[in-house]
């Protein structure tokens, strides 16, 4: 799947944040201070390749550039561009009109440019290839029936069609296709996009929807039928960038101007295919492209496997330890407050519980307009997630102390603070520690999602592995993450020996 299909959750939350976009943009009008060009890419292979090409081209022209890889979906990238978290990223014109501008009157290229310019964004010339919705068939089958365009399908009502679920549901998907071309087929089913390719190859369906730059087209030897009525929106590849890019890096426009028109459909499909099916690192695919097309020696930076794991481990530890420490510092006092005042307690526990129920991807999407991309929004999201188990266990640990014990401490004459410190917290320590342990283990797992907004960590290889369908890469992130979770678990069991008073661990006996 090449073109990014943002999850429903992300879209829903992006809609919630829509009014904030202008705020984020105006708040970001302060003069930029960073001097490294930051280039973003979506969680799709063609986006990563295009961004990598721009990155290496910039470096080759003396502009220090950083590639923030696979930052998740369209919404995150566009918001990051609006708020100057990144300076440039590859996009499709269809996505700009359909998802970002939300204005049906904006159709032509000059209209798009004008609308983007109002937001301080510039758009490059089309790069040369497009990634439209298209209909594909097995080449042999298409040849046998003599099919080359979608309108030819009218004469073959017996063909079995299998479309991705999203295509079935979108009003500009199957319903539009059926009505405009008056298609007679009755055997039409919805299925997963990746499964659709396999079903097509296996002959259990005859045609499916695809994107015209999908690497699978060549792999499965498919024929792409012409959209001869031109009903699908145009998804032409372009770069979006901050409008002030030329002022900040005068060398850049000239360098990037060499790219438009250099990508033809076949070249792009071949590059996607090399990255996705042959698992050649995108940096090398990009470097080869620059060399063969522009005669430039690209600067591919590909680190070794163990160096990569080491780097990801450090990033992951940083995310987990800092967010967890901050959560402990806030959540334990909150739990104490909640235990002391029943009314406030209900409200506090309810609030942290609601935060906890926000899907992690959605919470990350929340953070981008507020904090941009990178480590900090991920840190804040992890911090918020870690609150609930600690608050709740502190609260229940304190409430579980038997009334006679609490009252004994009171009648003994100890002041409230001393009772809390010397009696109640030690008695609740096992519960509090268990809450922190739960938070830590969940935190290690959730931190992998940070990769979607550029926070690095073990999620980076996992996300790349999912995108490239590489089990080895997925395991390279998932196995260390699982090991870290186990280590954290063990660490807390070890800590329990020192932090939980011995009297609470010894067995009752000697009656």
């Amino acid at each position: 799947m090449i073109q990014c299909r943002p999850s429903i959750v992300l879209v829903a939350f992006a809609a919630l944040w829509a009014p904030r976009l202008s705020v984020a943009a105006s708040a970001a009008d302060a003069p930029p201070t960073q001097q490294t060009l930051r280039i973003g890419s979506k969680l799709s292979t063609d986006s990563v390749i295009l961004a990598e090409i721009a990155t290496q081209l910039s470096r080759g022209n003396g502009v220090p550039a950083e590639h923030l890889r696979q930052l998740g979906g369209t919404e995150i990238l566009f918001k990051a561009l609006l708020s100057r978290q990144i300076d440039l990223y590859p996009e499709y014109t269809g996505t700009i009109t359909q998802q970002l501008l939300h204005d049906p009157r904006i159709v032509t290229e000059p209209q798009i440019r004008a609308a983007l310019a109002q937001r301080g964004i510039a758009m490059s010339q089309p790069l040369g290839f497009s990634n439209n919705y298209a209909i594909g068939m097995r080449r042999t089958e298409a040849d046998r029936l003599g099919l080359s365009a979608i309108s030819n399908l009218v004469n073959h009502p017996e063909l079995r069609l299998g479309f991705s679920n999203e295509f079935m549901a979108r009003h500009d998907g199957w319903p539009l296709l059926r009505d405009r071309y008056a298609l007679p087929q009755t055997d039409v089913r919805g299925l997963d996009h990746d499964l659709a390719y396999r079903a097509l190859a296996a002959g259990s369906i005859d045609a499916t929807d695809l994107y015209s730059a999908d690497a699978e087209i060549a792999y499965y030897d498919l024929r792409v039928l012409d959209d001869d009525l031109q009903i699908f929106p145009q998804y032409r590849a372009v770069y979006l960038c901050r409008a002030d890019l030329p002022e900040r890096w005068p060398a850049l426009p000239g360098a990037l101007a060499r790219l438009p028109g250099k990508f033809d459909q076949a070249a792009m499909v071949a590059m996607s295919r090399r990255a996705k099916l042959q698992q050649v690192p995108e940096a090398i695919v990009a470097a080869d492209f620059l060399k063969s097309t522009l005669g430039i020696r690209g600067q591919a930076q590909v680190s070794g496997f163990w160096a990569m794991i080491g780097q990801r481990t450090l990033e992951h530890l940083y995310l987990v330890s800092l967010s967890l420490t901050a959560a402990i510092i806030l959540a334990v006092p909150l739990g104490i407050l909640a235990a002391r005042w029943t009314g406030a307690g209900r409200i506090i526990v309810a609030i942290v519980a609601v935060i906890y129920t926000i899907p992690s991807l959605a919470l990350l999407a929340f953070m981008v307009p507020l904090l941009g991309i990178g480590v900090w929004p991920a840190m804040v999201a992890l911090f918020l997630y870690s609150l609930l188990p600690i608050v709740r266990n502190t609260h229940t640990g304190l409430r579980a102390i038997a009334p006679p014990i609490r009252e004994s401490a009171e009648v003994l004459g100890l002041p409230a603070w001393t009772r809390l410190w010397r009696v109640e917290l030690p008695l609740a320590s096992a519960s509090i520690l268990a809450g922190i342990q739960t938070s830590a283990v969940i935190n290690v797992g959730t931190a992998t999602l940070g990769a979607l907004i550029g926070a690095g960590g073990y999620g980076e290889p996992i996300v790349t592995g999912i995108r490239l369908d590489s089990k080895a890469l997925i395991l390279a992130g998932a196995v260390p993450a699982a090991l870290m979770a186990l280590l954290v678990q063990g660490l807390f069991e070890f800590l329990e020996r020192f932090l939980v008073p011995r009297g609470l661990r010894s067995k009752p006996g000697l009656a």
Partner: protein, 249 residues
């Protein structure tokens, strides 16, 4: 020492105590006696400030106790409850000395006082280094008594201190308690439902029923001059099993 004046206390619609007027005599052992739910424990809680009356006054040495006075007043109270109320995360020694150390007592002062109380309650030093879970029920109550006596309080309040013990342990501890009360000469208020315990330990017995005081006096007065039929019924309810056995010739 303590006086309760026209006290009423309800928990929701249920009347726990009231109206009650009661004078706790100085340097004597007063036993609050009665069946479960008669309000005897509530009276003791009123004397610790854990419960406040709906109406009426709690007076200490003639002065009404305002809510803000309880924290300082509690240093003059020693409190022992049924299961001891010991802090399970602290050793017996730490339980006993917690408050003294909080008040900044010196190490030698603490040690001297623990030594005295250990002799009084017959607990040796190794036992004091154990955690409550590692002690027997009787030992726990002795530790609890040491903790209550640590600051040498004016009043000792005990809520069914022997209620959870087996009969043998209970007997031993009753004997020791009687001796301790006599040697210290403190004002003691003890709650129990056991008539023989009340007779054995109490200088004065306050018999209660449904939140009111039925009769105040000695066990002898209860037997010979019961104030109402309930008194006789309560006494008869606690018959000795030995009555059914033929006396040994």
């Amino acid at each position: 020492m303590f006086s309760l004046v026209a006290i009423h206390k309800s928990y929701g619609p249920v009347r726990a105590v009231g109206p009650v007027d009661l004078e706790i005599a100085k340097a004597r052992t007063t036993v609050l006696l009665g069946p479960s739910g008669c309000g005897k424990s509530t009276l003791l809680r009123l004397m610790t400030g854990l419960t406040s009356p709906d109406s009426g006054e709690v007076r200490f040495e003639g002065v009404r106790v305002q809510p803000d006075r309880w924290p300082s007043l509690r240093r003059h109270l020693g409190y022992v409850i049924q299961e001891g109320g010991l802090f399970p995360h602290l050793t017996a020694w730490s339980n006993v000395t917690l408050m003294a150390r909080h008040l900044g007592w010196s190490g030698p002062d603490v040690d001297r006082r623990v030594e005295e109380l250990g002799q009084l309650t017959r607990l040796d030093r190794p036992t004091l280094l154990r955690y409550p879970a590692e002690l027997s029920g009787g030992q726990r109550q002795r530790v609890s008594l040491m903790r209550a006596l640590m600051l040498d309080p004016a009043v000792l309040l005990l809520d069914e201190p022997l209620g959870a013990l087996d009969p043998m342990t209970r007997f031993d501890l009753q004997t020791d308690l009687a001796q301790i009360f006599r040697s210290l000469g403190k004002t003691v208020v003890l709650v129990t439902h056991d008539l023989s315990e009340a007779g054995f330990l109490g200088d004065l017995i306050v018999l209660m029923k449904e939140g009111r005081v039925v009769q105040t006096g000695t066990l002898e007065q209860f037997v010979h001059h019961p104030a109402e039929p309930f008194v006789r019924k309560f006494i008869n309810a606690q018959r000795s099993p030995l009555e059914a056995v033929a006396p040994v010739a």
